[in-house]
Symmetry: C2
Subunit: 440 residues, 2 copies
């Protein structure tokens, strides 16, 4: 029986999960793979805390460099995270001719082109199914199953923390800050939640998916990103009246010679299956010219769901090793010499539907002024709702627009804000509704 | 540039779709594969009808045997269907050392073990992603992505025709026969719809999924199968009152040393994402010990969605050919020497919740008699609903049971039917509701 030797770097949540599956399911995996997977070394700065796994003598060590330099080891699992030590260790593992499995979307989104180049020159594999969507096999689906499709769009809920918080705000009508504090208390949000709630984690994932779907070089910097911290129960309630739910979506669409790629809170109709993806679940819909829409749905994070994806990658690489077929599939799905630099369209040039809520002064002529400015910018209003007079202060005016260009909408809102007819700055939420233009 | 040569047998709906994708996306596929795929021969008894594809001279021929015997051809696409000619051609292709891609679930479910043996002895691949769930990558997900999971259950809507018909009955309150006729008129049901509406097509698919999920030999014969022809708008309306929708489900669950595997109309709660899978869409939820639940959702049939899966398989095999890695993954995911004969539990031994509707004579003591007989068999009633007196004939009595054993339920219903207190035989619909036992 052939044996494949693995070195695990980082025994935190996902690393521990991978070690558990590899240990507890050793026989099950062997029955599928036809070879044994041996965890030769696990490296972590903390080798004292009990992970609930019985490692053999000498397996659990402090020195990650020893692992990446061990000539016996075939596959390195990089489960450290971050873009410094993880990157150095990964590059050294690649140099040493080792295959790498990682869940590190931040590293791939920032340095994916460099890693791709190094791996491809050295003839080793870098597998990263766990980096996007946890247990959902979105990387494999894009890179293998949909290989006969021209992909034209992807829409995803790719951050469980944001989805959990938005679901709490929606269900309980609580403020963002309260929902965030609850998510932190329940372990669904980090102590520093900014990477999640500001949308950057979702952008890392979309940058990876774009490369896979469109055969383009990784481009993180040009993806427009807006987080969920300004979402209020009031806007969620208005959305519901119009038949929409608010989700933090990663949206990408192939245009003629560019892609739209953006992360922002988005109103989607109840009829969109993504509107029913709640709590900390993830889902992604891929549109291809042959398949139409195909959707994957599952846990996007968590110890074992993420580790399941890691182990799937390990077995994939092990199968290639057993068949001498390393490099069987190019890292981002497209042959390196066919990867194109496709530009990401500036958000300002994109056209879509908008929800705008004004906190308007309660006096005559305000609605006329607002709609006049919008009209002058070519923004056509599909529906408007003004709540009756309130005892004090501003009244909410809610508008849904027809298709309008982002730059025009922003210019109009800035002009309106400069007048003394609205209180706080207007709230702007983008809408994705493929049936939204039926009457326009 | 290396070239892989393909022979297509059968240029019907799916065959035409595969030929279209291979032709129209030749360059796209080459950019991903790093080699060209050439359709050397297409064989069909009808070479006259225009398929909208420009084949080169001599490509489109009548003789399928010439194709499977052509020493130049690497991969055969068996798109004929059926279990006679398709089987003979497939076995000859395997003998000739050719790899095979098929969408033929009937053939695999009936002769999968034999095909597996022949392919494995000859060292060739038989790929069949298109046989289950059309474009949804359920085969790849089970065989590759979830390789680190012990799979404990699968629940699927795997027949678009049945789902379309049930959706029409649900939405419009029409009779099964009317909905079937509409589905036929719209091209969603065959002229002879029995394979679909009687549930056998779904059983074929479940037999394949069971083999993949549990490492068991194909076992079609022991799967209990009940179709949708007895589903009425009345039962759908009652289901709705109790918070359920009715779907034709393929259900399988791993028990200690056997599996439950059954196809029948099933009530599922609105909270189950499968309840929102409508029209001709398919979906399947897989439960694994690491991933929890993961769901795939998409078009389960149709020319291009199915052909997309076929082309995915072709590219997978082509990648193996380019790397000399044929046989990289065993046919049903498990090493042949580790496949076990796991028995399928008789339906009579399975315990679940039931919906039972009696057409009861409108006279005193009937409810007491019915509930007495159920009680004597150990069947505990969770809720009962009796509609008020009707002007003539029977009144519906609807009961939902707690967990009960199928054999006991059937015995009780047979005893009740023998009395003169019910008109037509009672209607029995099984319920899948993981929260249904909270109060029991």
């Amino acid at each position: 029986m052939k044996e494949i030797r693995i070195g695990l770097l980082g025994c935190g949540t996902v690393g521990t999960g991978a070690a558990r599956i590899l240990t507890e399911h050793a026989d099950l995996i062997e029955s599928r793979l036809g070879a044994g997977l041996t965890l030769k070394h696990v490296a972590d700065i903390d080798t004292e805390t009990d992970r609930g796994i019985r490692f053999g003598a000498g397996v659990f060590i402090n020195d990650a460099w020893q692992v990446v330099d061990d000539p016996d080891i075939d596959i390195i699992l990089e489960m450290i995270g971050g873009k410094t030590l993880a990157r150095d260790l990964m590059m050294r593992a690649i140099e040493n001719g080792k295959h790498v499995v990682t869940a590190n979307k931040a590293l791939l989104a920032s340095h994916g082109n460099e890693i791709l180049g190094a791996a491809s020159r050295r003839g080793v594999e870098v597998a990263y199914e766990a980096s996007v969507g946890g247990c959902m096999p979105i990387i494999k689906t894009l890179r293998e199953s949909l290989v006969g499709n021209r992909i034209s769009a992807m829409t995803g809920i790719l951050n469980g923390t944001c989805n959990y918080i938005l679901s709490r705000i929606t269900d309980e009508g609580i403020a963002f800050e309260t929902a965030l504090a609850q998510a932190q208390a329940e372990g669904f949000a980090e102590a520093d939640p900014s990477l999640d709630v500001d949308g950057l984690d979702t952008a890392h994932k979309l940058a990876i998916l774009n490369a896979l779907a469109y055969g383009m070089a990784i481009n993180l910097d040009d993806i427009a990103v807006e987080g969920i911290s300004s979402i209020t129960p009031m806007d969620i309630a208005f959305a519901r009246q119009f038949g929409y739910r608010i989700k933090l979506l990663a949206i990408s669409k192939l245009r003629e010679d560019a892609v739209e790629a953006r992360i922002h809170p988005t109103m989607i109709p109840f009829s969109n299956p993504l509107s029913n993806v709640n709590a900390n679940l993830n889902a992604v819909t891929v549109t291809g010219d042959a398949v139409g829409d195909v959707m994957l749905y599952g846990y996007g994070a968590g110890m074992l769901p993420t580790a399941s994806a890691v182990v799937g990658d390990v077995v994939d690489i092990a199968r290639n090793l057993l068949s001498n077929a390393a490099g069987r599939i190019p890292l981002f799905g497209c042959q390196p010499d066919r990867i194109r630099n496709i530009s990401v369209m500036p958000l300002d040039e994109i056209t879509m539907h908008y929800y705008i809520r004004f906190a308007a002064m309660d006096r005559p002529g305000v609605l006329s002024k607002i709609s006049g400015i919008l009209g002058n910018r070519g923004i056509s209003i599909k529906s408007v709702q003004q709540k009756g007079r309130q005892s004090e202060g501003a009244v909410p005016i809610v508008m849904m627009t027809h298709q309008a260009r982002e730059a025009d909408v922003k210019a109009a809102l800035s002009e309106i804000s400069a007048l003394d007819i609205v209180g706080v700055p207007p709230v702007l939420i983008r809408i994705e509704d493929e049936n939204g233009d039926e009457e326009s």
